[in-house]
Amino acid sequence: MTSLLSGWGRTAPTAATLVEAGASDVPALLRQAIARGVIARGLGRSYGDAAQNAGGTVLAPLTGPTTVARAADGTPLVTVAAGTSLHDLMATLLAQRLFVPVTPGTRYVTVGGAIAADIHGKNNHRDGSFGDQLVSLDLVTADGRLRTVGPESDPALFWATVGGMGLTGVITAATLRALPVESAYVAVDTERVPGINELVDRMRAGDDAYHYSVAWIDTLARGRSLGRAVLTRADHATADQLRGPAARDPWAAPRGPRIAVPFTPPGLVTRPTVRAFNEVWFRKAPRHRVGELQSIAAYFHPLDAVDDWNRLYGRRGMVQYQLVVPDDAESAVTEALRVLADAGRPSFLAVLKRFGPGNPGLLSFPMRGWTLALDLPASPALGPMFRTLDALVLEAGGRLYLAKDSRLSPETFDAMYEQADDFRKLRRDLDPAGVFQSDLGRRLQL
């Protein structure tokens, strides 16, 4: 069936044949692959063109069972099919008093997608990214072989696949470390921070004491208020911290979306509406509050409550820009916020967080430093501003996140990812006929 597919940003749709198959059908499917190749797609939450394959085949999520076992040292290990969403995985794990080791800002991503994008969460500063929590993954490569690959058994293929955007093969299942928790709640400390310099200082000084940390920045604030933010940091709530409804039902798993955006409204995300929203949001945040109990959904995935929220950006869709710069390059973050504020582009809250050291993933995004993510309504007029930001990021020795990218050129990408050619070489050896292809792969000449 030919389908028009786009990413979460709803930009640049292309047509592909969408195929539903079981894990055991994958080798046969790869043998039949036509000239334009195959890419696996999860829940389509990459913002750009990572899970699209114009004129080729796109493989729908592979479902299967989830099982929990204990390692020799007692660590809980969960083995899960690649097409399982983190939403479903969390429900399974919470029933066994466990939690996922890394969760992004949405539960609606698959395990396969989480590995392919090497996603990170608010605990990156202490636990690393999704790939760092993997014991092994099952991968069907271009030759149709199913291989179980781990960081010790085949480090080259493992670290090419972690962050490899699905271009090394089809991930069918994975085993990862789960985190024992005492409830489905987190205890959150919230503080309003008046500007970017104070924010950087407080995060640098205090983040290590918390399991999770994230700052939400008002990108329309300028001058002395540039980078004013609400900093929220949290730890998993212990059993004796629970009060009220949390005490009565300590293991309530996150529910599905409560409201939906049923159609695409025009012209909602404009400067006045975003300014008003950001102002209200900043004012209503407590100046300083300690130990507030929040559900997993409320703290980690606030936008998941609204189904299809990406439609709010209208027909043109949206672009997310997520950068990381090294720890000592926080001035690049300040400069990026200034470029954005000066351009007057309406961006809802930007997200700032600290990354821990990166991993050996050839195309993995995190590196020790600062990551800033911005959502903007797509517009051709954004081109020059993004190129200014690209130059700023490059100058600082940073890079952009491929799961969010929808516009980089191969030249800029290569300057940001110094192991890009190693990745290309591995692909040439592993997949000489080019069975695995995607629009992102074509755009970046991977």
Partner: protein, 251 residues
């Protein structure tokens, strides 16, 4: 691939020495690395166009193109695509001809219809096959307001544009489900070498304004735009003017 901001990595210009085609290429070359396939008649004009676009940083390849040699069109499109997907294709060839000769001289009338109507249908069909193969691609057809309501003063030209305009609007509908996007651009009077020496009509524009409308229309996935935009309203009015009155208008 076309990126999220509507910036292409490759561009095929059919009628690649036209002022509008070159203005479009120049704009796209500003936004990043660009491969341009310039399909036009060989000659000094094409050589100059290659030099100009190369100077803007584009990687340019020239191919021989003759609008009336329809049998060669499918192979030409395949050759243009041999270096990679075609992200944006601009169908920018056409002749204006002598308006009175164009309905009194049999050869001139047939030639005008072949260049302005049969040629676009021929390349449009070949391009459609390429769009379906690659699962994406934007085709921009340079039409004219002259085709929107055909008038006495240049009806042979207007009728040929009207036919091709309708073909490309329909092609856009047909290619939607295959990932394709067709943009029909209806400029009014454009100051180019094609209109050199003629009296400008009201609301006339330059090639840069048409290029700007093309770039914006591609990014917004529009299907039909007028240049300048005000012509949409003007033409909407003119379409409904009764024939006896329309005849008397100084158009």
């Amino acid at each position: 691939m076309l990126n999220a901001l509507g910036e292409p990595q490759s561009l095929l210009l059919l009628g690649g020495t036209s002022d509008i085609a070159l203005a479009v290429a120049a704009r796209y070359a500003e936004s990043g690395p660009l491969r341009v396939v310039l399909a036009a008649r060989p000659g000094p004009r094409r050589t100059e166009a290659v030099t100009r676009l190369s100077a803007l940083g584009a990687v340019v390849e020239a191919l021989d193109f003759e609008a009336t040699d329809t049998a060669s069109h499918p192979a030409l499109v395949e050759q243009a695509a041999s270096g990679g997907d075609l992200d944006v294709v601009l169908v920018a060839f056409g002749v204006l001809g002598d308006e009175e000769q164009a309905w009194q001289d049999h050869d001139a009338a047939v030639r005008l219809a072949q260049v302005n109507y049969v040629g676009p249908v021929s390349v449009g069909t070949a391009l459609a096959a390429q769009v379906r193969r690659q699962g994406h691609g934007v085709i921009v057809f340079l039409s004219s307001v002259a085709g929107e309501r055909v008038r006495r003063s240049n009806f042979a030209y207007g009728a040929s544009k009207a036919g091709a305009d309708g073909f490309y609007l329909g092609l856009g509908e047909a290619l939607r489900e295959h990932g394709g996007h067709v943009l029909v651009v209806r400029p009014g009077f454009v100051h180019t070498k094609m209109t050199e020496g003629r009296d400008a009509a009201p609301l006339s524009v330059g090639p840069d304004e048409v290029a700007e409308a093309v770039v914006a229309g591609v990014a917004d996935r529009k299907e039909l735009v007028w240049v300048p935009a005000a012509l949409r309203v003007v033409m909407s009015g003119l379409r409904h003017v009764p024939r006896p009155l329309f005849r008397r208008l100084p158009l």
